[in-house]
């Protein structure tokens, strides 16, 4: 039985199983396709936000509750950039449209890199290896960051213009798929592949993986894990800001509460996937995205609760998550 399960991908098959189960429950095939694509796109965006958090925790045992600040800032910066490039956004040119969305994402990511460096140096560094104070201090930083967002952008929802080329839907037969969702999925996939290759094929990636598995040993061999950690933290923050930027374009209307709302999903994803592994984060993110969309269609009121139930079930089954980086 175990061999049979493993031959079909083991836990990796869970999203597929979920899709198959959902088909008869949803009832109509076109709706199912729409929901599945939406779920995959959402999953990929959540993956962007969750992967950094997961790696940061795996490498340095640092749990950053302020992670959602990067998501919110990324979303608002992207909205501002898109608004400033209004001419490019509404232009009828493929190149200008893409230039607009990519410069918005790049601005968010750049902010994430810089703010991540600042955050690591000022907020996190003094409280390495002290979980209680880490949680408290990153929580405090989150409060400050949210207030700064309120101060800069105000409390009202901000509209995010969507480039011409990415709005509208593809219609194949009676199935309609929003183009932005495909874009989000592809971008997430590209980031996943880039991360995967970096972690599995480069020397830096080797060090990071070794650090996640046993930090003391890597340090004893003469590598400066602290310095590596700063880089990982900055990358993680940049990814979160990118995720936020993508999310802003997806929602079309963003409010300062956005970071906090997504953060719950991000935590659930990180717990489901297992701390410290990007494969786990991807798996968890896809499960959460798909389940959230299916349940939102079938029982609209239970969407968030369903993810909570999923987390409980998985924790009962595998207390360390689906694909933890280090097996206890």
């Amino acid at each position: 039985m175990r061999d049979l399960v493993n031959r079909f991908g083991g836990v990796n098959a869970l999203p597929v199983i979920l899709m198959i189960i959902a088909l008869p429950l949803v009832g109509s095939f076109p709706t199912w396709v729409t929901l599945t694509v939406a779920g995959l796109a959402m999953g990929m965006m959540i993956f962007l936000m969750a992967s950094g958090l997961s790696l940061v925790f795996g490498l340095m045992d640092v749990l950053n509750f302020g992670h959602s600040a990067f998501i919110s800032f990324g979303a608002f910066i992207a909205a501002t950039v898109l608004a400033a490039l209004a001419a490019w956004v509404s232009a009828d040119s493929f190149v200008l449209n893409l230039a607009a969305i990519f410069s918005a994402i790049a601005a968010a990511a750049l902010f994430g890199l810089l703010a991540g460096w600042f955050f690591e140096q000022v907020i996190i560094k003094p409280v390495y290896r002290d979980h209680l104070r880490q949680i408290l201090i990153t929580m405090g930083a989150l409060i400050v960051a949210e207030q700064l967002i309120l101060m800069i952008w105000g409390g009202n929802p901000v509209a995010v213009p969507r480039p011409q080329i990415l709005s509208g839907s593809l219609i194949i037969g009676d199935v309609s798929i929003e183009i932005y969702r495909i874009f989000a999925f592809l971008l997430g996939l590209a980031v996943y592949i880039a991360l995967y290759v970096t972690l599995k094929r480069t020397r830096i990636g080797l060090l990071i993986r070794a650090g996640v598995e046993n930090r003391e040993m890597v340090e004893a061999l003469g590598f400066k894990v602290d310095r590596l950690f700063v880089a990982v933290f900055m990358t993680g923050s940049a990814l979160a800001a990118m995720g936020g930027a993508m999310w802003a374009g997806y929602q079309g209307l963003i409010s300062p509460a956005l970071g906090g709302e997504i953060m719950i999903l991000v935590f659930i994803v990180v717990i489901i996937g297992g701390l410290g592994s990007i494969e786990g984060s991807l798996l968890g993110a896809l499960l959460v995205g798909l389940l959230g969309n299916y349940v939102a269609f079938i029982f609209p009121k239970l969407s968030l609760a369903s993810n909570m139930v999923l987390m409980m079930a998985i924790l009962l089954w595998r207390p360390w998550g689906l694909r933890p980086a280090v097996k206890p």
């Binding site: 925790f57 749990l63 509750f65 907020i123 003094p126 409280v127 002290d130 979980h131 209680l132 104070r133 949680i135 408290l136 201090i137 929580m139 405090g140 930083a141 989150l142 409060i143 400050v144 949210e146 207030q147 700064l148 309120l150 101060m151 906090g260 719950i264 935590f267 659930i268 990180v270 717990i271 701390l275 009121k301 968030l304 609760a305 909570m308 987390m311 409980m312 924790l315 009962l316 207390p319 360390w320």
Partner: protein, 366 residues
């Protein structure tokens, strides 16, 4: 931080001026609260005093978790809200009466116990840090449920209802010779006084119960778990069982505080019970007052509540006074006060992790 609070605790066992100072402050706060209706008769102060009473119980119960046992939970408002919503829904459906308070309150407490056991057994066995995330997720699910099941909970608007008759302002507790409400020291002995003393005495009872818990062998085991989990386990204490037990106890006390809050306010909504802002308040109060001492909770709640109610006025005055300077008025706007609290919070965790009570006790103990 764990070792600083441990030293402060050991120091507290000795006779020293810092300890006396903390006790004196706590006693002064206690006396002020006991005679609050007479000392500060206006409506707003009454409101502040009642809130301080209830939050002392709530924050002290949170300190059982974060300070004494070293586990971080973000679900404390969930339990607070369960107690409050249980009472509120019963009062709304059954009409004002003690049976409603009792029935609804028990239902709320029972729900809190079941949820606490479920969360505790499920997540306290894995890494402690998971616990913070799991509780945060659980709390936010509860908040969404409360706003979506609007048939029961009134959704975002919350529930407005009447408290038992004894607490209504029209009730005469003592009547003078002329049949009117008797006034003692210019304070009318009506239902409002009864409501305040109900809140005060219940909170006091909860507080003493918690003082008893931390002084008991259970409290010592909890501190042992905080200091060195592996060692506690090795000596033969079932860490998971103890952690779950204290989590359940804290949840019950929070739910009881919720019942008090619901009966006092005569209104229950997400903003007054479940919201994340309240959770942040609780965290700030614990850290400002001092983690790991029950007295810290008293001091932290009082300082924070007074600041919340009166600092905003001060900031508004500041914003108006600096209206001509470019950036300052924005920073001093009353809405921005959380920004300053956040900064203060970070600085406190860096430099005074033991909080007001802990720092005072430690300084004098050295």
């Amino acid at each position: 931080m764990t070792d600083t609070s441990a030293t402060s605790h050991r120091a507290a066992k000795r006779f020293n001026t810092g300890r006396i100072a903390v006790y004196a402050i706590v006693a002064a706060i206690g006396l002020a609260l006991m005679f609050a209706p007479f000392l500060f008769p206006d409506v707003r102060s009454q409101q502040v005093a009642a809130r301080i009473c209830i939050f002392i119980a709530l924050v002290a119960s949170y300190d059982l978790l974060i300070g004494y046992t070293g586990i971080v939970s973000f679900a404390h408002t969930m339990f607070f809200g369960l107690g409050a919503y249980g009472t509120a829904i019963a009062l709304k459906q059954m009409g004002p009466g003690w049976d409603a308070v009792f029935l609804g309150g028990s239902a709320g407490v029972a729900a809190a116990i079941i949820l606490a056991i479920a969360i505790g057994l499920l997540s306290l066995r894995v890494k402690a840090i998971f616990f913070a995330m799991v509780t945060l997720a659980a709390a936010s699910v509860m908040m969404v449920l409360a706003s979506q099941l609007s048939d029961f909970t009134g959704g975002e608007d919350g529930l407005v209802y009447s408290a038992p008759k004894l607490f209504s302002p029209a009730t005469k507790l003592m009547t003078g010779d002329d049949g009117k409400v008797l006034a003692v020291f210019d304070v009318r002995m009506n239902g409002k006084i009864a409501a305040y003393y109900f809140v005060f005495l219940s909170s006091l009872a909860l507080f003493f119960a918690m003082l008893r818990i931390v002084a008991s062998p259970l409290g010592t085991v909890l501190e042992a778990i905080r200091e060195n989990e592996l060692r506690a386990e090795a000596i033969g204490y079932r860490v998971v069982a103890y952690r779950t037990a204290i989590f359940v106890i804290a949840a019950v006390i929070a739910a009881l505080a919720g019942i008090l809050w619901a009966t006092w306010l005569k209104y229950t909504g997400p903003d007054t019970t479940l919201s994340f802002a309240i959770m942040i308040d609780i965290l700030l109060m614990v850290v400002i007052g001092g983690m790991g001492t029950m007295h810290g909770a008293v001091i932290g709640v009082t300082v924070m509540s007074l600041a919340q109610f009166y600092l905003k006025d001060l900031m508004e005055a500041g914003a108006i006074a600096t209206a001509d300077i470019p950036v300052l008025p924005h920073l001093l706007e009353p809405d921005r006060w959380l920004l300053w609290l956040g900064v203060l919070f970070i600085l406190l965790v860096y430099f005074f992790p033991a909080g007001i009570a802990g720092t005072l006790m430690k300084k004098a103990g050295e």
